[in-house]
């Protein structure tokens, strides 16, 4: 015991070894879970992006998006026009398939983040113990450099889309959890009392009062999550996730400013459209 402490003191505490060990153990223990996920989820994603979305003629998809944008933004023309011009430009630059891949990754990573994040946020708002435990974990998840998540992602799921989604999930979930927690805790005490005073069950209170009241805050969190997922999906190209990020990465590796710039613009356009979509969807129902 004392000797161990002494070696820790002189030669450093083996944190890296510990992390390695944990990774190996988790890979072993959860192989039964990771393997099918890798296989089926991976298949599903390629099917969605390559067989479904890429098979829709680009101009039809652009028009559909523009129409959705038109109604979503309250029949204003700004967002539809930007969508048409921006998406056409990406198509024009020959990046359409990459755009679809990136979009699929962002979409799935965001949906999963919300599915995981909202219930966690609810739990956190209901239990102060859960909050005390999860706050530092969330801080850790958000401040750890995003690249680091790629390592266990590869270990668990190999390379490709699935580890990309996994890394995005870890990186992008915290805002949804935090904002859900915040939103519910911010619901006026009197409204919660009113709901209880009339004899609501916990679930009735949550679904009829707290979640509707916290909706705007939760949506703001989801918007953040989607944007983080996008940034992570770009980084995930380093572990073989397809999409616009891969174009940036290869341009970087060959020091080609031109193609890198074009792919970068594609990401910016996608980011702006996604951001505006989620924001207007939120503000519209106010």
């Amino acid at each position: 015991m004392f000797d161990t402490l002494k070696t820790w003191f002189t030669e450093g505490i083996p944190i890296a070894e510990g992390a390695e060990w944990s990774k190996n153990k988790i890979t072993d223990w959860f192989a039964f879970l990771f393997e099918p996920i890798k296989e089926h989820f991976g298949d599903f994603m390629s099917w969605l992006s390559e067989d479904v979305l890429m098979n829709i003629p680009p101009y039809i998809l652009i028009i559909v998006i523009a129409i959705i944008a038109f109604f979503l933004s309250g029949k204003k023309l700004g967002l539809p026009i930007f969508s048409i011009v921006g998406l056409w430009l990406i198509y024009n630059q020959g990046l359409w398939d990459h755009l679809i891949s990136t979009f699929t990754l962002v979409l799935l990573a965001s949906i999963l983040s919300v599915i995981v994040g909202v219930p966690l946020g609810i739990l956190m708002s209901k239990s102060s113990i859960a909050e005390a435990i999860m706050k530092p974990v969330l801080d850790f998840m958000q401040t750890m450099p995003a690249f680091v998540y790629l390592i266990p992602a590869v270990a668990f799921f190999g390379i490709g889309m699935v580890p990309g989604v996994f890394a995005s999930l870890i990186f992008a979930t915290p805002p949804t959890v935090r904002f859900t927690n915040l939103g519910i805790r911010q619901v006026s005490k009197e409204l919660v009392e009113a709901s209880e005073a009339f004899g609501s069950t916990g679930a009735q209170k949550l679904f009829k009062v707290e979640l509707p009241m916290a909706r705007a805050t939760i949506m703001a969190g989801i918007n953040q999550t989607v944007m983080l997922a996008l940034s992570m999906v770009v980084i995930a190209s380093m572990i073989g996730a397809p999409g616009l990020g891969r174009e940036v990465l290869s341009a970087l590796q060959r020091a080609q400013v031109g193609p890198g710039f074009v792919a970068g613009i594609g990401i910016v356009i996608l980011a702006i459209i996604i951001d505006r979509f989620t924001q207007t969807a939120n503000s519209k129902k106010e």
Partner: protein, 398 residues
């Protein structure tokens, strides 16, 4: 038969509430306990019972524990000790499910800042209590509409709460509480957030509604005028304890201690006192038996300048002045009718002080107080002024 009864209801906020209760038993004050144990006494052994159809007002300054007390009644705050009996069931020991049932069926609450759900329409707000009981849609919207109709908001069903004024919002709050048809209505400073004129309207409306509904109402307020206006009985709270329970008159006339006395000092007494509180026992003669001679004799005995005349049933007939009576005696008139004056001013025993004041001002003779034409007392001008000045020399045993 009380509908709701609180026994030794206590709430201590802090880490060691039982210890604080022991300290209370030792006679320490709220401040001393806070200093000694770090616990805050919210409510200290409140006991009261409220009868069916009664408006029971709990009143106290901010920090007196009244809002805590009302939340103990429906257990929005868990009591540290004591019991709350509704129909002989103890709320304090119920499990969650039973408690929910009682809240749904027997207790409704109206909140200070309305607490309407902003994402629901007025109708949906009023439906809330029924909705969570899974009442079928048709039935609950019917009941909610009736409740909204009752508070005069039948035409605003599809508006949102923020489109309504404060007074209207609180009507929705009231309708939401009434839609459940509860036995007991808890109103937590329900009108305090409204401006004074609207508040008065709402008080009047509540009283009017109450004549129809006959609900048992527990009403919290910090406003003594409001308490006196609407309360059948008032409980006064200080530092978490109930210091006095009584009718408005009792509280005003016989303050239990200095605190209550200071509280009621600046109340406009003319608003609560009525003729019966300041009248005196009248000196009378009987029109069927007595003549001017007896009248004069009585007046001399009592040192009066006039005397009231009644019949054998004590129905008021008029009055005789000393001057007229002595004139009559000189002229040897035997019949009292000859000198009887009938222009006497009468007030009902429920007449308020302000009205009495205008009547008595400029009347040389005392005002007669009647109950169904029967004489029950007289009011002399001095008594009115004394009562307005807060002199407690008034008669409460009526």
């Amino acid at each position: 038969m009380p509908v709701i009864e609180a026994k030794n209801l206590s709430k201590v906020f802090g880490k060691n509430p039982k210890h604080a209760l022991e300290l209370l038993d030792e006679g320490l004050s709220k401040d001393e306990i806070l200093k000694k144990s770090g616990n805050t006494v919210g409510v200290n052994r409140a006991s009261f019972s409220v009868d069916a159809g009664e408006i029971f007002v709990i009143m106290g300054l901010s920090g007196s524990g009244k809002s805590t007390l009302v939340r103990l009644i429906n257990r929005l705050i868990e009591p540290t000790e004591g019991s709350i009996l509704i129909d002989d069931q103890d709320l304090a020991t119920m499990d969650k499910k039973e408690l929910r049932q009682v809240r749904r069926e027997k207790l409704s609450m109206v909140f200070q800042r309305f607490a309407l759900f902003p994402h629901r329409t007025i109708l949906q707000n009023a439906e809330y209590g029924l909705e969570i009981q899974n009442v079928p849609k048709e039935e609950r919207s019917q009941k909610a509409k009736e409740a909204l109709e009752m508070v005069g908001l039948g035409g605003y069903l599809d508006q949102r709460p923020d489109q309504l004024s404060g007074g209207m919002q609180q009507r929705v709050g009231l309708a939401r509480a009434l839609a459940n048809d509860p036995e007991v209505l808890l109103m937590d400073e329900a009108f305090s957030a409204l401006d004074p004129l609207i508040r008065k309207d709402m008080q009047d409306e509540l009283l009017e509604l109450q004549t129809k509904m006959k609900k048992t109402i527990i009403f919290i307020t910090h406003d003594l005028d409001e308490a006196l206006r609407i309360g059948d009985r008032i409980a006064l709270m200080k530092d978490g304890s109930i210091v006095q329970i009584g009718s408005p008159e009792e509280i005003l006339m016989n303050p239990a201690n200095d605190y209550v006395e200071r509280f009621v000092e600046d109340v406009d007494r003319s608003k609560v006192l009525t003729a019966q509180h300041i009248m005196k026992r009248p000196e009378t003669i009987n029109i069927e038996k007595h003549g001017p001679r007896v009248a004069l004799e009585r007046m001399r005995e009592e040192g009066l300048s006039s005397i009231l005349v009644v019949d054998s049933n004590r129905n008021l007939k008029g009055y005789v002045t000393a001057e007229d009576a002595s004139e009559a005696r000189k002229n040897d008139v035997r019949d009292i009718h000859e000198v009887l004056q009938t222009d006497i001013k009468k007030v009902d025993k429920e007449t308020g002080m302000q009205d009495i004041f205008t009547i008595i001002n400029g009347s040389p003779i005392p005002v007669a107080v009647v109950e169904n034409e029967r004489l029950v007392g007289i009011i002399v001008r001095g008594a009115v002024i004394a009562a307005l000045a807060g002199d407690s020399e008034v008669n409460l045993d009526v």
